[in-house]
């Protein structure tokens, strides 16, 4: 690897900064940024500020403000992300209940808030109060009976369709980039890709508004992934207020990494989990300075959300549980079984979802996005209403499944046969035999499980904001709870078996089905996203206890192993491959023994490399070259005979420089010689004024020799974020390797379709 002189490189950039051409230094849409240039621009800016700060007090204060601007941006991101998450939570709470009824005293209250001050709630009917009326009560004055049921059913479906239609129309008319989860695109953006408008203000507004609508419509999706997108939009918005971040794409991505952490933090109420999620899943270059700032943003966001208090009990998430019943070593066996289930479900989901999304992308199904959303919403609403576990929102379902059954629970899931003479305190109920309500709940849960598994495959990826965390956790929680109840009943009825005898005496509280639900949720979420540390930390921040780390880890590790046995990609990497984004994954290992000559362009039999010479081409030649080819850049050599490398020039900058020169500098015509050296070449008299383009030349392009192993080349691309790399032999230019070539080569080696890489 040859680095052609740091001094020359920095001298070139100082020229570059002093007299910028218009729009030079910005990037085109759907292109990759030059990480090294951004980094050195930031270093230059910092050095300039530091040297000026010694001049006067005002400059010193400006340098302090510049240093603190990072923290101010984090604070603002945390505040806005927390506020938006609070608004979303409150609005979802209200609109979900709007499908079933309305609060007469104050229409803005949800069911629970409406009955909050009422004194007419009874122990058996904790949800009923006269101020809240279902639609059938309001319209036809009947609350029970077949006609009331049918009317409620019909209105539920109508509301769901109305919300979904509004959502997809808003997305289509105002911000088409607001659809989907957002995490695959944010991963690609953070690795250096540019998608203009993806983190814009309209996308932020529409995503927030439509997220509430789609979650309230009862579709099988969650809001965590879209909240990460919303938080990154906030990050983009605030970073555009400070020139330190708005002019430098590399620094901006540091802010976006921290914003992603704030997004997960408010989604789960897990600041540490959010930072780890950003580190593990979303970010590409995560310097240690960003770690501390991400944590600050996540804390501010969590604190803001807490002060809005959307759930009325100072908790950040609807399903925060806080019990501390112990678990036993023999229970590790069902936990590992749940892990296997999670891994298998993850594989099934990824394969089916990618197949369906590919079908949506290539066939006529993709031409009817609005109709597709309406049909899926109708199917979901029709099937979900009869089953009480799918009728309510998924977060409430998970909350109920996670909760342990005390003596005071009135749900069907806790309909155990109580011993009437029991006098134990509330949180130490021993294992009891299941009553009929529990058996009903079990088969209802089984049906709900099958339904959710199937419908989520078709829901994720539609043209509405959709997240994946909550449905996966719901699937896992349902499976876990069923396994937990099964083990509990087994332990109760067969407490003399050898496996139960040691740790489960009759009359003791051995098995907590709620814990199984949590472990199942973690296993399924890990199987689909392949998160490791961040998953365990999020789950234990959700549960508030360190006792359950070992079961959670066992399940997460098992599910990851099982899922990795079938395919290496998580759902987000699979969507990145589906879209063909130029994302060089840090987790992929390249273990093949190919060399740089095998990958470089031009191959044998192709047209020779298009190069510029240092002082023998005219403006017209350069323009013809640019017009005839569509390469993003051209190497500059000494002359066509001796192909010794001087540097590399970007296409965009050549175009702008030549256009600028034709307009501003007089004497520059099509026959003018273009030169990249310091001094103009020897020209015959009466020749037109030559054009100096040394400013746009990158004098330190990365080069490798032709015998460099591809393993090293891939490593260089990954670690430095290169876009292209030149190949030389004995000092002479041989060819070029671009990021697209590297990705295609890796796809080819992994027997995937190399033509699916679409972007540069």
């Amino acid at each position: 690897m040859v680095n052609a002189g740091d001094m020359n490189g920095s001298g070139n950039l100082m020229d570059f900064l002093d007299e910028p051409f218009p729009d030079v230094g910005t990037y085109e849409d759907f292109h990759t940024i030059d990480w090294l240039r951004e980094k050195s621009r930031d270093t230059d800016r910092h050095r300039k500020i530091t040297s000026k700060s010694k001049e006067s007090i005002w400059e010193f204060i400006k340098s302090l403000l510049d240093a603190w601007s990072g923290w101010v941006v984090m604070l603002l991101i945390g505040l806005l992300a927390g506020t938006l998450a609070g608004v979303i939570d409150l609005a979802v709470d209200w609109m979900t209940d709007l499908k079933e009824g309305v609060c007469l005293s104050a229409f803005w209250y949800s069911h629970e808030q409406c009955c909050w001050t009422s004194n007419e709630t009874t122990f058996d009917d904790r949800d009923k109060c006269p101020q809240w009326q279902k639609w059938s009560e309001l319209l036809v004055n009947q609350s029970e009976g077949a006609s009331a049921y049918i009317l409620n059913y019909f209105l539920y479906i109508m509301w769901a369709l109305c919300f979904a239609f509004l959502a997809v129309s808003l997305v289509r008319v105002f911000a088409p980039y607001a659809c989907g989860s957002g995490i695959p695109e944010i991963k690609t953006i953070l690795s250096g890709f540019i998608i203009r408008g993806y983190l814009g203000k309209w996308t932020l507004l529409i995503k927030t508004v439509t997220l509430v609508l789609v979650v309230s419509s009862g579709l099988s999706l969650g809001k965590e992934g879209p909240l990460v997108h919303v938080a990154c939009c906030c990050g983009n918005f605030f970073s555009s207020l400070f020139s330190k971040y708005s002019k430098n794409e590399g620094k901006r991505r540091e802010v976006l990494s921290a914003a992603a952490a704030a997004g997960v933090s408010v989604a789960f109420g897990a600041p540490i989990g959010g930072v780890l999620f950003s580190l593990e899943e979303v970010s590409y270059y995560f310097p240690l300075k960003t770690l501390w700032r991400s944590f600050f943003a996540a804390l501010v966001a969590a604190f803001t959300l807490r002060s809005i208090n959307p759930f009325g009990n100072s908790r950040l998430v609807l399903f925060y549980v806080e019990y501390h019943t112990p678990w036993y070593m023999a229970e590790l066996f069902p936990f590992i079984l749940l892990g296997v289930f999670g891994g298998l479900w993850g594989t099934l989901f990824i394969r089916c979802n990618i197949a369906w999304c590919r079908r949506r992308k290539t066939t006529r199904l993709g031409k009817y996005p609005v109709l597709e959303v309406i049909v899926i919403t109708a199917i979901t609403a029709v099937i979900a209403y009869p089953n009480p576990y799918t009728r309510r929102s998924t977060s409430e379902l998970i909350s109920e499944l996670f909760n342990d059954c005390g003596a005071l629970e009135s749900s069907q899931l806790c309909d155990y046969i109580n011993d009437p003479n029991m006098t134990r305190p509330v949180d130490d109920i021993p294992d009891r035999p299941a009553g009929p309500g529990v058996y009903t709940a079990m088969w209802q849960l089984a049906l709900a499980l099958v339904f959710k598994i199937v419908i989520t495959i078709f829901t994720f990826g539609m043209k509405i904001p959709s997240g994946l965390f909550i449905p996966s956790m719901a699937v896992g929680a349902m499976a876990g709870r069923m396994v937990g109840i099964g083990v509990e009943q087994l332990a109760y009825h067969h407490h003399d078996w050898i496996i139960f005898r040691n740790w489960c005496r009759p009359g003791a509280d051995c098995v907590t089905p709620g814990l199984y639900a949590m472990v199942g949720a973690a296993a399924c979420l890990g199987g689909v996203t392949r998160m490791t540390v961040s998953l365990v930390v999020i789950m234990f921040e959700l549960t508030g206890g360190l006792e359950y780390i070992v079961p959670l880890m066992a399940a997460a590790v098992t599910s990851k192993w099982v899922a990795d046995a079938f395919g290496k990609e998580g759902i987000y990497e699979a969507h990145i491959h589906l879209n063909g984004y130029p994302f060089l994954d840090v987790k992929d290992e390249f273990t093949h023994r190919t060399l740089a000559t095998d990958v470089m362009r031009p191959r044998r039999g192709e047209a020779p490399l298009s190069v510029l010479t240092q002082d023998s081409m005219t403006v017209e030649d350069v323009e013809t070259l640019i017009k005839e080819t569509d390469y993003n850049g051209f190497p500059v050599v000494v002359s066509k005979d001796s192909e010794r490398l001087i540097g590399f020039a970007q296409r965009r900058e050549l175009i702008l420089a030549i256009k600028n020169a034709r307009q501003r500098q007089d004497g520059v015509v099509s026959n003018s010689i273009v030169y990249f050296t310091e001094d103009p070449p020897e020209l015959p008299p009466n020749s037109p004024h030559p054009l100096k383009l040394r400013r746009i030349l990158n004098l330190s392009p990365f080069t490798v020799t032709d015998h460099t192993p591809m393993e090293t080349v891939v490593d260089i691309f990954r670690k430095l974020g290169l876009r292209q790399c030149l190949v030389t032999r004995s000092g002479r230019l041989l060819g070029i390797i671009t990021k697209k070539d590297v990705l295609r080569h890796m796809a080819q080696m992994a027997n995937q379709d190399p033509e699916s890489i679409m972007f540069n």
Binding site: T83, L90, L408
Partner: protein, 190 residues
């Protein structure tokens, strides 16, 4: 960036309104409660008791009134009861829902205006002959279909009103490009 002029002030005003609402919230006496749930005991049915007490008084003895069981049984009864202190902010809920509904309503009105009203107005203003739709726009109800024409026309004049219209048309073009990438060509976000 798809930055229409209204985007940034809109976001700022939303933020300010929300923060003002949060700052101005008064502790409504209806917004705190201590909720005690007592299960069935002997021949008394289960009941729920709500009372507005402070957090340190939130236990069975202060809240359960009148006590349904005689003196010696009170302790056994209260041991089964579970009392929780809860607070909420009704002002926050009200302000948030009303702001959300008004933003949703504004967006819906604007959407109706853009998709239905504006093409009719433009057609009346500029006449049928000048609205030559490009080939890609035929067949699908594309909002902003005539953005190209208006953009070309307004580039010639340069006063403030036309600058605003110019920005708006530029935004519409950007959204149209995005829509083509996402919905038609399925290049991104598939």
């Amino acid at each position: 960036m798809a930055a229409r002029g209204g985007g940034r002030p809109r976001l700022c005003s939303l933020l300010l309104l929300l923060l003002a609402a949060l700052g101005a919230e008064a502790k409504n006496s209806e917004d705190v409660r201590c909720k005690c749930i007592c299960p069935p005991y002997k021949d008394h049915s289960g009941r729920i008791y709500n009372k507005n007490v402070s957090q340190k008084d939130c236990d069975c003895l202060h809240v359960v009134e009148p006590m349904p069981v005689p003196g010696p049984d009170v302790e056994a009864y209260c041991l089964r009861c579970e009392c929780k202190y809860e607070e909420r902010s009704s002002v926050t809920i009200k302000v948030t829902i009303i702001i959300y509904l008004s933003i949703l309503g504004l967006l819906l009105l604007y959407m109706v205006y853009l998709t239905l009203v504006e093409p009719i107005l433009k057609r009346r203003l500029f006449g049928h002959s000048q609205l030559i739709q490009s080939d890609e726009d035929i067949g699908d109800h594309q909002p902003f279909a005539n953005a190209h024409d208006v953009l070309a026309r307004s580039r010639s004049r340069a006063n403030v009103l036309n600058k605003v219209e110019y920005a708006q048309q530029r935004w519409k073009l950007q959204v149209q490009e995005q829509r083509k990438s996402v919905f038609d060509r399925h290049v991104v976000l598939s």
